[in-house]
Structure formats: C-alpha cells, structure tokens
C-alpha cells in the first residue's frame, strides 16, 4: 500500500496545478495517472486562456460574460472566484516560464474570442494547451513531486454510510499498467480527481482516446452525483476521419461552408442570415447536420470548409497550422481543395458535483478540471475559459485538501441540496444490472481507513480476475454501441423519441457489458483490460447525459430540444443531479445561485 497526504488522480492541467498547490501548502502529495503527465489531453488545446489582465478590463466583466455565456446556469460563487483568480493564475504561469505570445513591448498578448466583451485571451501560438501542460509539469519536476505514471485508478476507497454526505474518501485503488500490480493508495487528507473529459462516449470527438469519464463515473459510484451532464458542447468544424479540431480561426478569416450542391449553406438555407459562418458553435453544428440529414451532405457525412479564396499568402500567414492539420490528419491540401468538416463532441460542461473549492459531498473527495462541475460553465462554456478553470480550481482544491482553507463554501452539495424530484418514468431501466455489480465498501461495518482501502483493493482484485479469467465478448463492441447511439440520438439535435431510444440502447449495452471478458491473458501492459474497465465508465456517463437531456424540457445553452424551443426560467433555472444511489439511480434538481457578493445576476436573453 502507498501512502500520502493528498493523492491527485490525473496529471493534465488541473491535476498538475492541484498537486503543486497542495505541495506549496506543505502536504506530501502524489500524482497517480494512467498516462504520463505530458501525454494528457490538455496538450491539445490550441486557442487560449482567458483572464482580465488589461487595465481597461476587469474581473467582473469577465464574470458577467461567463454568466451570460452559461445561459444563467452558472453559480455566482464559482464564477466570481474564477474571474478574480484567473488573473493571478495566468501571471503565475508566466512566472513559471510559459512561452506566451508577446507584444512589441514584451507584455503578454491578448486577443478577442467569442462571447467576450474585451480582448482577454492570452495564448502561446496555436499550441496554448501544450505549453501550459509542459510548463506545469516542469514545475512538478522542480518540486520533486512524486508521479506514479501509467497507473490506472479503477476505484475510490470510500466508507459507505447510507447518506453520501456522511461518507469519507480514504484513497483509491490503482493498477500499474506495466506490471499488472493492483495497489491501494491511502490518502490521509484527500483524493483530488482530475481525470478530464468523456468524449469517448461519442464516436466522433475532439477528445483523446483516454477521455473516458473515469473520474465522473468513479465518484458517482462512490456517492458524489454527476451534475448538469446534459450540457455537451459540440464543435462544428472537426475533420471527419479523426475528430481533429479545425479552429474557428478559419471561419474568422473568411472561410466558407458549402454543401454537396456547392451552395453556401448558412445563407442558402437561412440558418444564420446575419452572421453566416460566424454564427455560434451550436448554430453552425445544427446547420451542418441538417444538411446531411436532408441529403445535401457530402458522402452523406460532412460539408466542405473552403478557404482557397483567401489566397495562398494569407492562408500561410494566418492559418498555416490548419494546413498541416488537414494534410496530416485528413490527407487534404487546404490550398488546393476544400476541407471536409463535421460536428464533433468537444467539451463536457457537466461533471462531478462539487463546491467552489472542488470539494464533493463525500468528505475528502475532490474533483477539478473537465471532470468536475462547480457550475462555472453552466449550460455552455465560452472558448478560452476551460484552461484558466484548470488553474483556478486546481489551486483551490489543492489548498483545501492540504487544510489551508478556512472559509465555508457557499455552494451546497449532496442530497441535502435537493430542491425537487424528477417525477417521470425513465423509458429504460437505469443503474446496476444485478446486485453483484460491486457498489461500495460494506454496510458501514469497516472501521479504519486501512480496512476500507484493503476492502476496495480486494473488490478490484476480484473484478480484474473475473474479467481476465472468464470467456466472453469484446468490450469494443459494447463501447461502439454506446458511441453510436449517443452520436445519433444525443447530439446537437435532441428529440424525445431519440433520447428514449438512446436510453434503451445504453441499457442494452449495460446488459451486454455483463458478458465482456478480456482476451489478452497477460499481466504485462494489458490495454485490453484497461479499455474494458473504461467502457463501464463510458456507459455510466452516457446514461447520465441522455437521461438529463430527456428530463430537461427547454432550450438552454448547448441543450436544444425540438419540442421546447425556449429557455424556461420559471421551470428550469436549476441544476440537474444524477445520483448512483446504491445502484438505483435518482435524478433530481437543485437551485442555481445567481447571487454574487457584488451583484445579483439577472437572467437576460443570450444572443450574440
């Protein structure tokens, strides 16, 4: 068994920041991560990091923009803390050596970004995330923080009182990929989940193969609900064969979208007569899919993004990296031919329910980064707001776990925060298939943290052995089924019948999952086993997304419902929670907090 004060699970931007802060506060901290830190998907971010640094700008404007962008589903305590602290975090990143792009006078450059009232996006070329990730990993190396890399965390070690708010997290169980060793990691002061996104719930995504929603699913099973999962951001211009993102920059510079009839679809079919290609991400994504659905897509799959008319000189000057992306990942020369693009899953707004310190309702269990939901992005994330989020909330959780925060949180979590129940029937059964699906430790009978941990390790050992020893089907089939139905039915268009279909398919997948087995008999680097375990996480998060989407009968932010084309503040100014509840999941709601310290945010129409 390994032992530390604070265990951080995941070493992307959020995990690294949390580890550094806990270390600064004197904690003995370790990072446990299934990928080596520099392989984390934070490295893929291109665009930038928002912070109100400019004299003429101010944090409250940033907060206001974020609240408006969230379509009033953000919580003011999280948004205010975020906008205030992002400034210091970005400057600190500069002090740590981040190679930001610069102005002539040597100061950090800031550029305009969608939804922002001021140019406040700092960046480092077109590789902002790469530089952020490496700069922060360098600081981890500098501090000698212990990293267990290629250790896959499979389960949290949590006591199992019946009310999740009474539970305590004492650590986690991890599997060393190289050797097949399963070990307990005892965390004296807390476990911080920073496991990133869940794009693998969809078959077309800008996310990495490793983005399988592990943290959300593990916390959910341990008692911390998932919040606002129905809010998924899709990006309208991703390459069809891989999901690699072609940035807004192309349309910003004048790139045009064409359908199979070579019509300029945004105008020809009236999707956005004013803004055309520059309309917001969700509008453009829906336009593209409508074209495909109505038979005007190319190869029934995608549309064309053409930039040739901009001329070679301008393209090379402004959009050179796009040329490389199209060439390397789609085999297309953007100077010569239009680039194929289609919408892809991009960012998950929802996640593990936590307060503004990243603390969940389970004592000692934290979540930060894309896997968490402190209600910062609400129903829609503004571009450039995720990277500063990693810094601000990574630091906050690290500080809190190290015992250096005295303030009480304002955002309530856990069952006590419930305001109303969802009172409809689910079209398919939810949650555990049978009672043998391992749930928590053991009826509250276990006494010491070590015992809780030992039991968790034992449960995982049995799970791994069962998967390895029995005969059965390949998890890849099950995962593909979930991905397919999510992409078909829970995309930018949401209709009641489709959402119901998705829930049925997910149920079917969950039942089939009872029959999966790992064919590779080896203990050495068994990725078959890793992916098989991840697939169960994919099923849990997919279910939460689909059910949350079915339950929310309104159009808010990224969540569009065919029958309900209005935002309905009277009914839905509230967060969706989805709790595992010992295998019988429960969907309920809690109120949004619009009351900030300085001002109260009044819901306004979100139009750009």
């Amino acid at each position: 068994m390994y032992e530390h004060d604070v265990i951080v699970v995941g070493a992307g931007g959020a995990g690294l920041r949390a580890a550094i802060e806990a270390h600064e506060e004197g904690a003995d901290v370790a990072l446990v991560t299934k990928l080596h830190p520099v392989r984390s998907h934070t490295g893929a971010a291109e665009g930038g990091i928002n912070a109100a640094l400019h004299e003429k700008d101010s944090w409250d404007l940033h907060a206001y923009d974020t609240m408006k962008g969230s379509d009033y589903l953000g919580d003011a305590p999280a948004i205010d803390a975020f906008a205030k602290e992002a400034r210091h975090e970005v400057i600190q990143l500069e002090h740590w050596g981040m190679p930001f792009s610069r102005e002539e006078d040597g100061t950090v450059s800031q550029r305009p970004f969608g939804g922002l009232s001021h140019p406040r996006t700092t960046y480092a070329g077109a590789e902002t995330g790469h530089h952020l990730l490496h700069t922060m990993y360098e600081q981890v190396v500098k501090r000698g923080i212990e990293v267990y890399d290629e250790w896959f965390v499979t389960r949290l070690a949590v006591t199992d009182e019946s009310n999740p708010s009474d539970r305590t997290c004492h650590g986690c169980v991890a599997y060393e990929i190289a050797t097949g060793e399963l070990s307990g990691f005892y965390a004296r002061d807390g476990v911080i989940l920073a496991t990133g996104g869940l794009g693998q719930a969809f078959d077309h995504t800008t996310n990495a193969i490793a983005c399988t929603g592990d943290g959300q699913a593990m916390a959910y099973r341990a008692g911390a609900p998932m919040e606002d999962m129905e809010f998924v951001q899709f990006h309208p211009t991703t390459l069809p064969s891989t999901g690699v993102l072609i940035s807004e920059g192309v349309r910003g510079e004048g790139g045009i979208l064409y359908n199979d009839n070579e019509e300029r679809l945004m105008y020809e079919y009236g999707y956005a007569n004013n803004d055309g290609e520059l309309a917001s991400r969700d509008v453009v994504s829906r336009a593209e899919l409508t074209e495909v659905n109505e038979g005007r897509g190319i190869e029934d799959e995608y549309v064309h993004l053409d930039m040739r008319h901009l001329g070679e000189e301008r393209i090379i000057d402004r959009l050179e990296n796009i040329l490389h992306l199209a060439e390397d990942f789609e085999g297309v020369d953007g100077l010569d031919e239009p680039m194929p693009v289609k919408p892809g899953q991009h960012y998950q707004m929802g996640g593990t329910e936590v307060d503004e310190y990243g603390h969940s309702c389970v004592d000692g269990l934290y979540a930060v980064g894309e896997c968490a939901c402190y209600s910062l992005h609400g129903a829609n994330r503004l571009g450039g707001n995720a990277l500063p989020e990693l810094l601000v909330f990574g630091a906050r959780a690290g500080r809190h776990a190290a015992g250096a925060v005295e303030e009480e949180p304002e955002i309530p979590t856990g069952p006590g925060a419930k305001s109303d129940d969802w009172d409809e029937e689910s079209p398919a059964e939810l949650g555990a298939v049978d009672a043998t699906d391992p749930i928590a430790a053991d009826g509250g009978a276990v006494a010491t943290p070590q015992e809780v941990l030992e039991q968790a390790v034992e449960t995982e050992r049995e799970r791994v052995e069962t998967l390895m020893e029995r005969d059965g089907i390949n998890h890849a089939d099950v995962r593909a089924k979930v991905q397919k139905t999510m992409t078909e039915n829970v995309n930018v268009f949401r209709e009641e019948s489709n959402l119901k279909q998705a829930l049925k398919d997910i149920r079917e997948a969950r039942e089939e999952y009872q029959n999966v087995a790992v064919a590779d008999p080896s203990r050495t680097y068994n990725t078959d086993l890793i992916h098989t375990i991840e697939t169960r996480n994919v099923i849990d998060v997919a279910e939460a997304i689909a059910l949350g989407a079915l339950a929310r009968k309104e159009f808010r932010g990224a969540h569009w419902r065919k029958q309900y084309q209005e935002r309905r503040d009277d009914e839905y100014l509230k967060h969706t929670l989805y709790a595992w509840n010992g295998g019988n999941p429960e969907l309920y709601y809690k109120p949004v907090i619009l009351e900030g310290h300085e001002e109260k945010y009044e819901p306004k129409v979100r139009s750009y």
């Binding site: 049978d434 050495t524 680097y525």
Partner: protein, 289 residues
C-alpha cells in the same frame, strides 16, 4: 449491426435453471465471433482497397509470444486513414491483445512514435497513403520492448529530467499582476524548441545514443536549449545550464548526423540547437579563462 440479447440473465436463479451465465457468455462470444467474421468480410469487400500491415509482436509472459514475431492484418483502407487508424482497426477487429500506446490522435501527446517502414514516425501523423504497402510496424529501436509496440520510456524520461527542465529565473516582478518582459524576438528564438512532445523518436534514431547509454540525447539537449536561450532567466543560470550540457555525455558527443532532425515530428531543428549550444559553451569557456 445490433444484437439483442435474447436470454437476459434476469436473476441468478433463473439463469441457473436454464444455462449457466458462463455458458451464456461463451455462447454470446461465439455468436459475436461469427457476426464479426461476417462483418469483416463485408467491410473488406465493400472497401475499394485494403491495406496489409505487419506488426511486431512480443510478450514475455505469453507462451506463443515470448519469441518475437510479426503478425499480418488486412485492413479496409479509407481516405485520410493514418497508421494509427489501421492499428486500432486491427486491434478492435482481430486481436484485442495487440498493444500500443496512443491517446490524442493529433500529434500532441507523443505516445505513438513507432518504427514504421524503417523510420521513426508518429503513427497518428502518418497517412497510410503516403507509405509503401504492406506497412511494417515495429517498436522504437534502441529501447527495451515491454510488449508488442510498447517500449520502456523510463530512460528517456531520466535524460529529460537530467537537464533541470524547469524555468528558473533569478527573480520575478513584485507587482501581483506583473509579468516578466520578453521580446517577441526572443520568444521566436525559443519557439521551435518549446514544441517538443517527448515522443522519443529522435533519441531512437540517434547512433550516438545507441552506443552511449548516458548520452543526454537530442530531446534533453533541446530542452536545455529552450531555457538557456530564454532571456527571462539570468546569465548565471545560463552558465549553469551550459555546464550541464557540455559534460562528458553532453553536446560534444553529437556528430551532426542530423538523423534526429530528420525524424522529429515537430520539425525542431535539433542538430542546429545542439551546434548552437556547443558554440555558446565555447564562448563562455573563453570568457572564464
């Protein structure tokens, strides 16, 4: 293709009365295998073209893989297909034990540097259409193979860590929201060196590194360059950095063969950076004598 499970194991007892869950699973597995076989045939015959890949296999723990061997797979070809796509297809369709690292699929995570048709390349960034077929895929040479295409990266990481790879300025501005200044020219100077994704392709391609295990290697030296040339760090720190790279197993080992520069997927002028550090080291030694 979708298969409904006809017999749901509703409860343990009910299942026991008919067939055991184990038998049901095996039955399902056989059904799946048959379906899969059919699906593969369909996909292969629908595809206008198929591509063959020959993949290195080795697992010290599994009886028939203890001796390294090559397995061949036939994969339907589509436009835009990368070598990584071909590997994923082979794994998910034919053999789930086929093992390789990969994550981002877009040349930023550095997981999938492999030896493809005799050259170090990132599988995700290499288009199948750009290669001769059948494609031969091996793990990075000069590194210990853990299993199939996975090599032990520990030594590479140690070398990266050996150059004190972290920014270390003498002081930072006092103002809470004040950044250090850096000229756009200086930023431009270090720009290419900061692009490294730690893939290890350069190290694997380098003859010197193959012969001298302690040689820092191109990536680590480039990392040192990234900080030594950054004007935000002080002059003393720069001198310390030069001392690190001019040690016995440092820059002077490089014989400017350019193999690292040729294979680097991020187009970092590694050899040039090494040469520049040599010159800087000479300059600074002259100064101190």
């Amino acid at each position: 293709m979708s298969t409904k499970i006809e017999e749901k194991p509703e409860t343990e007892t009910e299942a026991d009365e008919q067939t055991s869950p184990g038998e049901q699973r095996r039955e399902l597995k056989r059904e799946r295998a048959a379906e899969r076989e059919q699906q593969i045939q369909e996909e292969l015959s629908e595809a206008e073209e198929t591509v063959g890949i020959k993949v290195f296999r080795f697992d010290p723990e599994v009886a028939d893989k203890e001796e390294p061997r090559f397995d061949s797979f036939t994969v339907p070809f589509f436009r835009g297909m990368s070598v990584l796509d071909a590997l994923v297809y082979a794994r998910d369709t034919y053999d789930s034990s086929l093992t390789f690292r990969h994550s981002c699929r877009q040349a930023v995570c550095g997981s999938d540097a492999l030896f493809i048709n005799g050259r170090q390349r990132l599988a995700c960034k290499t288009q199948v259409s750009d290669l001769e077929w059948p494609i031969r895929i091996e793990p990075l040479p000069h590194q210990d193979v853990v299993k199939d295409l996975v090599v032990d990266m520990e030594h590479f990481y140690e070398q990266m860590h050996a150059v004190e790879p972290f920014f270390d300025p003498d002081e930072t501005p006092d103002g809470e929201l004040e950044e250090q200044r850096q000229t756009p020219e200086n930023r431009e100077k270090v720009k290419l060196s900061t692009r490294c994704i730690w893939c290890g392709a350069c190290m694997s391609s380098c003859n010197i590194a193959a012969g001298d295990n302690e040689y820092l290697g191109p990536a680590a030296i480039n990392k040192a360059y990234r900080f030594a040339m950054d004007e935000r760090e002080g002059e003393d720190r720069k001198q310390e950095r030069l001392r690190i790279v001019e040690q016995e197993h440092g820059v002077w080992r490089c014989q400017t063969q350019f193999s690292c520069t040729e294979v680097c997927p991020k187009d970092i002028p590694l050899t040039e950076h090494i040469q520049e550090l040599k010159r800087e080291a000479v300059k600074s030694n002259l100064k101190f004598w």
